[in-house]
């Protein structure tokens, strides 16, 4: 292979051009010839290696073209062939270029010095003098009218900068604190079907929205999970807002806002898939593990005379991850 003495511009190619230049006096002619021969041989083999990569690339390109041409319809296998041949074509050119540089080009280390950052002192003095002359010439110290009107103009220039802030939209009103849940809103499935007292079996769950607000984009903050607990497990903690075993919790995780909707019915645990927060439903969706620190807010519900489940009022606290105004 190539000679391994980086830092000197003597690649095998250099040997070929100037065989006997600058040799040490003690070297015999025969030894020198041997060295030249070996260098030439290494050079040839390096050339062959590099060109074989280029030829490999050419083969890959041809293979791609032919494969594409003969397979009118692509399937998984043809896709793999096309991808592999294109990869070989690109890899061959890249690898050849890299090896060309590594094996055949002169390897030299060049150091480029940085120039100092500061200006030369005479230039700095000159600039200072020019500045002072300008200040003197403008007479800004002597002409208060000019000075003050300029200050006013540049100060007011801030107004056009500030004014467009209005275009950022309306100030948030109560959206962060309120959802679409309201007094008497019926609980409906995402497809709008209202839910009745017999809609779920014990240990059943469903995602619910307030009636009329089922658009997952617009009403995302109102998505909640309805769980029907067996009557005997309902605890005092969740009973006041529950109704005949039905409980509703916001399904927006209080950590990062993912839908905490994985429900393990044996342990009555809601899980969030994003960061594995766990909420114990029977303890009022108290977080039991994971990064969430705040319980999922519970929605107070009841039913009407037709058996439809209805909300009593909106959530009593902001849903989702805490925000800055919340103490």
């Amino acid at each position: 292979m190539s000679e391994r003495n980086p830092g000197r511009p003597d690649s095998p190619a250099a040997h070929l051009e100037a065989p006997a230049k600058g040799r040490a006096a003690g070297t015999t002619l025969a030894a020198e010839r041997d060295e030249q021969l070996a260098a030439r041989k290494a050079d040839r083999s390096a050339e062959r290696i590099v060109s074989s990569f280029f030829l490999l690339s050419a083969a890959g390109a041809i293979f791609f073209f032919v494969t594409y041409w003969i397979h009118a319809k692509t399937d998984l296998f043809v896709n793999a062939l096309l991808g592999t041949s294109l990869a070989v074509a690109l890899f061959g050119i890249g690898m050849g270029a890299v090896l060309w540089a590594k094996m055949l080009m002169p390897a030299e280390e060049a150091v480029q010095e940085r120039h100092p950052f500061g200006s030369p002192p005479e230039l700095a003095t000159e600039a200072g003098e020019a500045w002072n002359a300008g200040v003197q010439g403008s007479g800004i110290a002597r002409r208060p009218l000019l000075r003050r009107s300029l200050l006013l103009a540049s100060g007011l220039l801030l107004l056009p900068v500030i004014a467009p802030l209005r275009s950022l939209g309306e100030k948030p009103k109560g959206e962060l604190k309120h959802t679409f849940w309201s007094k008497n809103a019926r609980l409906v499935l995402p497809d709008g079907t209202p839910l009745k007292l017999d809609s779920l079996e014990p240990n059943g769950i469903a995602t619910v929205f307030p009636e009329g607000h089922t658009d997952i984009e617009a009403a995302a903050n109102s998505s909640a999970v309805l769980i029907r607990l067996p009557d005997e497990v309902v605890t005092d903690k969740i009973r006041p807002k529950s109704h005949q075993g039905y409980v509703v919790f916001s399904q927006i995780c209080t950590h990062a806002g993912c839908p905490a909707r994985l429900y393990s019915q044996q342990t009555h645990t809601l899980l969030c898939p994003c960061h594995q927060s766990q909420f114990k439903v029977l303890l009022g969706a108290q977080p039991a593990a994971g990064p969430a620190t705040r319980p999922l807010p519970q929605l107070a519900i009841t039913s009407d005379s037709d058996g439809y489940l209805r909300a009593v009022r909106d959530f009593d606290e902001p849903i989702g991850p805490g925000f800055w105004e919340r103490s």
């Binding site: 190539s2 980086p6 890299v98 009745k196 240990n203 839908p259 994985l262 019915q265 593990a289």
Partner: protein, 262 residues
């Protein structure tokens, strides 16, 4: 309330044995009134129930109790769980339990379908629950595939993953991969809510919609995966691992190779 002295004087006069007899009588009387009506039906002796009872005594009673009443801390009562739950648990090899753990894993079924039907008939005779669904492949093929997908994504995907590949729950529990579940088992799982799974009753997801879900889950298995290796359909985590280890690792290796001195 009787005063303590009054009670102690009575205790002296009435022998302990009499109390015992009285207590037994009261218990027996209460039992006759309050016992689940299904327990009386347990004496139903159609041939299937008789055979099922025999299989139950051999294979199930050591944990669930001779009357399927459950043993505290060991196994739940099976009174009222219904035939669908039995068919699901036994046909998917989860029961009889292979080993004690947080969750029963899927295994090859230990009983023939005939034996499972007998067992189901016996457990059903103890007190009704959801019956095993009856449908065939043609019924599934007639179901609405896109509606099934909608229901699956709304109700099932949060635990079973968008491709039915399953997902971890808490404390070692998991929602299983749906790749091996039969249509009947998928239907029964929705109906009965085995283990950690919530129940999706027929009022919430109608039988016709359940068939649609079955069709959708089965269609997931034929995924074409045009992008190549699906990495278990597990989503961004394994894909990220491949991108970081193989993708970025390869780039770093290539950079080192190009930059190194020859």
């Amino acid at each position: 309330m009787t005063s303590p002295s009054h009670a102690s004087s009575r205790r002296r006069t009435i022998p302990f044995g009499a109390y015992l007899v009285l207590a037994l009588l009261v218990t027996a009387g209460l039992w006759a009134f309050l016992a689940p009506s299904g327990s009386a039906a347990g004496s139903d002796n159609s041939p299937a129930v008789t055979r099922g009872k025999e299989i139950f005594a051999q294979g199930c009673a050591s944990c669930h109790g001779l009357q399927a009443q459950g043993i505290g801390g060991r196994a739940p009562s099976l009174i009222g769980v219904g035939a669908a739950a039995v068919d699901f648990q036994v046909s998917s090899g989860r029961m009889p339990l292979a080993e004690i753990g947080v969750q029963a894993d899927r295994h090859p079924a230990r009983y023939t379908q005939q034996e499972i039907d007998d067992l189901a008939a016996y457990v059903n005779s103890l007190g009704g629950g959801p019956a095993a669904p009856v449908f065939n492949a043609a019924d599934v093929q007639r179901a609405d595939l896109s509606k099934g997908g909608e229901i699956f994504r709304a109700n099932c995907a949060s635990c079973h993953n968008f491709a039915g590949a399953g997902n971890a729950l808490e404390k070692g529990r998991y929602a299983p991969n749906l790749g091996q579940a039969t249509g009947k088992q998928i239907f029964e799982a929705m109906l009965t809510g085995p283990e950690s799974m919530p129940v999706f009753g027929n009022n919430q997801i109608t039988p016709q919609q359940k068939l649609a879900v079955v069709r959708y889950v089965q269609s997931l298995r034929k995924g074409a995966d045009p992008g190549g290796a699906n990495l278990g359909h597990l989503g961004p985590v394994p894909e990220g691992v491949v991108a970081i280890l193989i993708g970025i690792g390869g780039l770093v290796a290539a950079t080192l190779f190009i930059g190194s001195k020859s």
